[in-house]
Symmetry: C2
Subunit: 349 residues, 2 copies
């Protein structure tokens, strides 16, 4: 029997609560194969006691796993730019997880904040660039404390980086509705986005079967609430993809439902799966966090490992429990705990 | 009688259609003072025939006016980064219009795309930084055509620039609900946004009467559709403000209703007023564009000139016609033309 070695990094806040449930569900879904878990306590708590989010050889320790399940990172008292750049972002980059795949759809039993929109109109996937762009260490501060003080923050877009993410999105669009929308802002960001647009246009020629369009990020955010039914696959830079995927999650089932995969398409390094939501420290440990996003992230992990039947069974179990409506966390209008919802889903498997 | 000299730049596409209506309404609203209009044909059309969006002495020509009414800029065949950086953005910068003020609210007779939300819950104002930030000419391309090709796009945040916009927003919050939310992304953009946050925190201390909070742009976009009632004044960088204001317009009455002011608070140079929407070339000249946003931009212009009674009468006229519901453009569910809606509003004055 094939046994996959999975690294689990629950992290901070509700990351811990929901990762426990995802493991519970995945273990139940594993049939015909096994999952061997190794847990890492890398977190803000670790940072506060040791001075670093993960050990020096952390990346090396992760590199031999078949996959990584990450909870969420971030906690009051630790500046975000330390917690994230000390764990989440280095993993994304060191392991060439250049695709951040963020599918959203309105699940059965849930409703949208948008008036009169039902499930078939609310299903899309954001293909977010995950290795460069606006998230960059280049830049710095000049003249601290002086009247003329300023900071520079550089965005970096490489041809290699832009081509590979756009190509990935076209390939994905081909397997879905055959439509791809590229998020741009070439009217404001006159170096980076015209370059992005130029590469998008050049690659579009190779995919005559895909209807390709581009839309400025401001107009695209508006479209996402006004005409979400006309969107299917969206390709976006790191920052634009971050914004659009939270917004897309919010107009579909909410942040409690949206999974994401940090994917290395070549398989040269492990890929990492996580909920789109953050660590929500204010509700951590209270048993009220919705574990669905993390459970669906677990399904994406199974699917990435090639265990598509098990992945589908997890998705089906989530749908069944949500349609039944008997066991729902408070954000879904119920009174169940995180663990009760996790168990209900596991019990459907 | 005081006569204000106003520069009108209809620009491109529906900018021309809606500016005509705004002038019609403002002329009717002018009582006890006069408006003397000078029209400038600066546009993409001008660019295509002369090679520039405006003449070399364009900024000098504008500088003596009491205010500027701008339609919209942008047309197919002219790259956006030429049309915008050849007209809109130079005016914003040369005239130190460092505040882009974007109030949105659900107007009577219209409904929100958000389920179950009514007018009092949907009213906010975005205070957008308008002179620096992500919109920067710094940056460029390295190694064009080479495999290692990349572009850099620099964001620039100065202490002077960040302090003045945040201070403006706190002052405004004080005159409204006493709440201010700052858009950030310090977990991803580790040079610019921690600097922004630091200045926000320092200035917040001077305004103990204002409840100040900050929110990452991704979460804030989600909040705007999930809990818009808890937002009032939002202060944001140039790019974040651009995205949030389109989104805010979309969840309230739609882009056809949202005005904006590019404001120089010191009055050392003229301020410029425009709709948030773009030139929408696909529907230009057909008489179907909604002129309300531009008419409300005109009201902001009057208010900026100190003619607050006239400004209020324009707003009241817009509300009256919208509540009546007899004369509405197609985007509002009616069959009236741009000009019929403009005239109906003018006739209420
Ligand atoms: C046209 C574009 C450059 C402009 C901007 O992004 O500033 C517009 O979207 C706006 O919001 O005024
Ligand atoms: C926590 C933060 C750095 C992260 C990001 O912006 O990438 C998160 O918002 C996400 O979407 O995964």
């Amino acid at each position: 029997m094939k046994v996959y070695r999975i690294a689990s990094i629950p992290g901070d806040g509700i990351g811990v609560d929901v990762t426990l449930e995802a493991r519970k569900v995945l273990d139940r879904a594993a049939s015909g194969f096994g999952l061997e878990w190794t847990e890492f306590d890398w977190s803000c708590e670790r940072y506060l006691s040791t001075g670093s989010m993960m050990p020096d050889d952390g990346l090396a320790a992760l590199s031999s796993f078949d996959g990584i399940l990450l909870g969420a990172v971030g906690f009051p008292g630790v500046p975000d730019h330390i917690s994230l750049w000390g764990l989440l972002i280095p993993v994304r980059r060191a392991f060439s997880q250049y695709v951040n795949l963020r599918p959203v759809r309105l699940l059965p039993g849930t409703s949208s904040v948008l008036a009169g929109r039902s499930a078939p109109e609310l299903e899309m996937v954001i293909v977010r660039e995950n290795s460069e762009g606006e998230y960059s260490t280049l830049g710095g501060r000049h003249g601290a404390g002086e009247p003329g003080e300023f900071v520079l923050q550089e965005s970096v877009f490489t041809r290699v980086g832009v081509e590979r993410i756009i190509r990935y999105a076209f390939e994905l669009a081909r397997t879905r509705a055959g439509r791809l929308c590229s998020a741009t802002k070439s009217n404001g960001l006159i170096h980076s986005m015209p370059f992005w647009d130029e590469i998008f246009a050049a690659i579009a020629v190779e995919y005559p079967d895909v209807v390709a369009e581009q839309c400025h990020i401001d107009a695209l955010a508006a479209r996402m609430v006004q005409a979400p039914d006309r969107l299917d696959v969206i390709v976006a830079s790191n920052l634009f993809g971050d914004i659009l995927s939270d917004l897309a999650a919010a107009v579909t089932g909410g942040l409690g439902m949206a999974p994401s995969g940090n994917i290395n398409p070549s398989g040269s390094h492990p890929s990492m799966f996580e909920a789109v939501h953050g660590s929500a420290p204010d509700i951590a440990g209270q048993g009220i966090a919705n574990p669905v996003a993390q459970i669906l992230a677990g399904a994406m992990l199974l699917s990435h490992l090639g265990e598509t039947a098990a992945a589908a069974s997890v998705e089906a179990a989530v749908e069944k429990v949500l349609s039944d409506g008997a066991v729902l966390t408070p954000d879904l209008g119920g009174t169940a705990t995180t663990s009760e919802l996790g168990s209900a889903i596991a019990d459907c498997l």
